[in-house]
């Protein structure tokens, strides 16, 4: 018996060693893709391999900062990344991205003009828009009687311990700054101080500061109100029809997540093929339908089922989006430390 156990242990150890060594060999005909969690229809990667013969090695991250922390040291090579606006700005500054020659992409013309020449990449030389969306409030219509059209509802004593905030300093401070009527990109310490006080005031009303697990909880009716991205709201509303989504009138965050090629990429040609594939209207529509976020490709939007295509959650009216109080984040590198200590102070007030 003992001998057998020993033999098995040996076998496992040896096979693990071999496996880990085998992982080192890089196939020429494969690309490595590093994307947000839940941010692609898994079938799309299979379709891509089927059509091109290029294997997709796919892994996921939870937020921009995590992706940056993984990629920045340069010891892991990803070909394709999906950073958001402000992170692209930062990565361009740090020279971590390759230029993308959009003339080589057949499907680039499909992307709507209003998603081109955005401030984070004014010449469209590094990034190709993938999805976009807004931040707003998801609320349970069975639990909330008031009209939800303002961030103020997240400070309403009536909903004590029924509010989910997002467990991220950036998004939470954004909410407070917007409620105060300031720009969410402010560097004014007085304005940030006010935002901090407001969030400390709010802390007793908050049931939890949640990450991705908040979506499921919200669907189960665990809380009445939650700060959420529109795409997640689409998914949640699909699972629980009592839920609704509103973009507060004080304005909010409007974001674009784009596809970029990492500087370290060794398989640039395959990367171009992959980007072009994702911009093809039928593929973009497939992704948009699966993940709930909004595609920047009108032709793809036209292929979506009526209830998504006409949804004001995923595709708010132009006057909402183009209002000056809808802002994009800019590179926060110079202020992250202050944000972090503000956040710790808010949490410590509990």
């Amino acid at each position: 018996m003992k001998k057998l156990t020993k033999a098995i242990t040996m076998l496992i150890t040896v096979s693990l060693l071999i496996l880990s060594l085998a992982g080192c060999g890089e196939s020429k005909n494969a690309i490595t893709v590093y994307n947000w969690g839940d941010y692609i229809d898994p079938e799309v990667n299979d379709l891509f391999t089927e059509e091109t013969g290029i294997k997709v090695v796919y892994s996921e991250y939870a937020n921009n900062e995590e992706m940056y922390a993984t990629v920045e040291p340069g010891n892991v090579n990803y070909d394709i990344l999906f950073p958001s606006d402000y992170m692209i700005e930062k990565m361009i500054k740090k020279d971590m991205l390759q230029k993308v020659d959009t003339s080589k992409l057949d499907n680039y013309k499909n992307i709507d003009n209003r998603f081109k020449k955005l401030p984070f990449d004014p010449e469209d030389s590094y990034s190709v828009p993938y999805m976009w969306g807004t931040v707003g409030i998801v609320y349970n219509t069975k639990m909330v009687e008031d009209v939800v059209d303002s961030w103020d509802v997240l400070w309403n004593e009536k909903y004590k311990e029924q509010i989910f905030m997002y467990d991220s300093e950036r998004d939470s401070i954004m909410v407070a700054l917007k409620k105060l009527g300031y720009s969410m990109n402010t560097r004014d310490e007085k304005e940030l101080e006010e935002a901090k006080k407001l969030l400390i005031e709010q802390a007793p009303l908050v049931l939890a500061y949640v990450g991705d697990e908040g979506k499921g909880k919200m669907v189960n009716g665990e809380a009445a109100l939650m700060v959420a991205w529109a795409g997640d709201a689409m998914v949640m509303m699909n699972e629980n029809p009592d839920l609704a989504y509103a973009i507060p009138k004080e304005g909010s965050n409007y974001f674009v997540d784009s596809i970029v090629i990492s500087k370290a990429s060794k398989n640039v040609e395959a990367a171009y093929e992959y980007i072009d594939f994702l911009c093809r209207p039928d593929i973009a529509a497939k992704n948009a339908q699966y993940i709930g976020y909004s595609t920047p490709i009108s032709k793809a939007r036209d292929l979506l089922p009526e209830e998504i295509k006409e949804s004001e959650v995923a595709y708010p009216k132009d006057e909402v989006i183009s209002h000056s109080n809808m802002e994009m984040f800019n590179d926060p590198s110079d202020i992250v430390e202050l944000y972090s200590s503000i956040w710790t102070e808010i949490k410590a007030s509990n």
Partner: protein
């Protein structure tokens, strides 16, 4: 082959994966852009960081005490020579450790939700639902649940090794059960207790997962602050400094515990 040379693989391992990273942390915590600074340590003196540290120690301490109080009697029962089925109970204590603690903690999160499985059952039998999650209680529960086996096993181990003739001698000399426990069993089991305390207190002090999943992100412990510096704020210097402070606290705890542990005869860590 000299027997000592068998230790070399581990020594090399330790050098690469323990000593070098440790030196890096020391370096990061004292240097900013190549020049020496104690700024990272000064930053920690803000009252909200100190508050998080004190709260971490508090919660870890409470969890350790609860673990000890529950584990000692269990270990005593299990070490009883006449006990049948003890392998099964031991297995039940260890079994959860076969699964990833992240998964188990996630599972508790959905069991204990306000609309979770347990509260639904309470409602079904007309009882008022209880808010389990999103507070200190849930965090302590998570710590006790996750680290309980680390308290039971060393104590059980030590108790099993106690020579029964010592206990018999104590009875022969007229001591009653309580005195025997106080004067013979307890002192002899101290090495296991000390190991158990250390094995529970340290991970409880540094956890960031339990606070996030069961504490609803509202309880910010020192582990959360360190994690945030490395994954979100990208402030390696401050993260390293907080790690150093935490390590010093752990070292002090260890030094204190090993002093108490003059009776160590196996089963102990040091």
């Amino acid at each position: 082959m000299h027997r000592k040379s068998l230790a070399y693989p581990y020594l090399i391992w330790a050098a690469i994966f323990i000593v070098v990273p440790l030196l890096l942390i020391v370096y990061f915590s004292f240097f900013k852009d190549g020049s020496f600074t104690i700024q990272n340590y000064q930053k920690f003196l803000e009252d909200y960081y100190i508050k998080a540290l004190i709260r971490s120690i508090e919660l870890a301490f409470i969890s350790t005490v609860i673990c000890l109080v529950m584990a000692y009697p269990l270990a005593m029962i299990l070490s009883d020579k006449h006990m049948t089925n003890k392998q099964i109970i031991l297995l039940l204590v260890v079994l959860p450790m076969w699964m990833n603690s992240l998964l188990r903690t996630y599972a508790w999160g959905s069991l204990l939700e306000n609309n979770g499985v347990i509260n639904s059952m309470l409602k079904a039998v007309q009882l008022a639902p209880i808010t389990f999650l999103y507070g200190n209680g849930a965090v302590i529960f998570g710590m006790v649940y996750n680290f309980f086996p680390f308290m039971v096993l060393p104590i059980y181990n030590v108790l099993c090794k106690i020579d029964p003739s010592l206990i018999e001698a104590s009875y022969d000399l007229g001591a009653d059960k309580v005195t025997t426990f106080r004067k013979v069993i307890l002192p002899l089991s101290m090495p296991g207790v000390v190991t158990g305390i250390v094995m529970v207190f340290m991970p409880a002090l540094t956890t960031f997962l339990i606070t996030r999943l069961l504490g609803g992100g509202k309880i910010n412990l020192i582990g959360n602050i360190i994690e945030e510096q490395f994954t979100r704020t990208n402030n390696f210097g401050f993260g390293s400094a907080v790690s150093m402070i935490l390590m010093i606290i752990v070292l002090i705890t260890l030094a204190f515990m090993s002093k108490k542990d003059s009776l160590d005869k196996g089963g102990g860590l040091f």
